[in-house]
Symmetry: C2
């Protein structure tokens, strides 16, 4: 192999990272997919996020074409609704693959109740985690 020069600024993974890897972005995309589509509703699901940060993250997701932002006019206080775009939806499927891999990677470390939250909120996840079944069965026996 001759020396190909890799440059982190051209790295596709770095671009992906910028799209999705903000501290709150995976959670925001998940909430939007679940129909938690309002600013204040998102805040109540993420009690430790500040308004500034939530605004920033939503704006970036919008600029990157992953969510849409719509102001409902003629309403009393301003109402804004966020939705996943088709690109956002396709990204959600990839995120599910990442979650499945990472849960497997962390399976001896992560608490069962955290695993349960993922299983309960991600419909197709359980199928991808064969080790899960055995773990639950063992627990039932003990």
């Amino acid at each position: 192999m001759q020396p190909v020069h890799y440059d982190a600024n051209l790295c596709v993974m770095t671009r992906f990272s910028g799209l999705i890897m903000g501290k709150w972005k995976p959670i925001i995309l998940h909430l939007v997919e679940c129909g938690i589509d309002r600013f204040s509703a998102m805040q109540s699901h993420m009690p430790t996020i500040s308004k500034k940060i939530l605004t920033e993250q939503l704006r970036e997701l919008e600029t990157d074409g992953l969510i849409s932002r719509q102001e409902l006019k003629a309403k009393a206080p301003k109402i804004v609704v966020y939705r996943l775009t088709p690109q956002g939806t396709s990204l959600r499927r990839l995120i599910d693959e990442i979650i499945a891999w990472t849960l497997t990677y962390l399976k001896d470390e992560i608490p069962d109740d955290v695993v349960d939250v993922y299983i309960n909120t991600h419909p197709d996840l359980a199928k991808r985690l064969p080790w899960l079944k055995h773990k639950r069965k063992d627990e039932n026996l003990s």
Copy 2:
């Protein structure tokens, strides 16, 4: 949906991000997979990385169980060889999915020669990018 409280510190995506999303880690994993297994060889493929950063990233990948580090003893200058662990190998496959998604997401923006580098260095990638075929065909015609 009742208000489940999401905490970015428990977020599996955040854990995944820590494993892989350092500025240089995807490139390092790729090089190691390709058999570029020595410190100095990696440096010559990443001309702008410093020794300190390369050392740090390698140590983190090792701590996280994605690569192994072996000193070959009784050699003149110290020789160290890095390899992918089985976990590192399985992660590489997931990274290929991420690259495929991101190349599709960026397909109108990313220069053709950068796409070519990815195609040439990732054996199974071309199959996942149906839009690529059309692009190449158009170019041949013009």
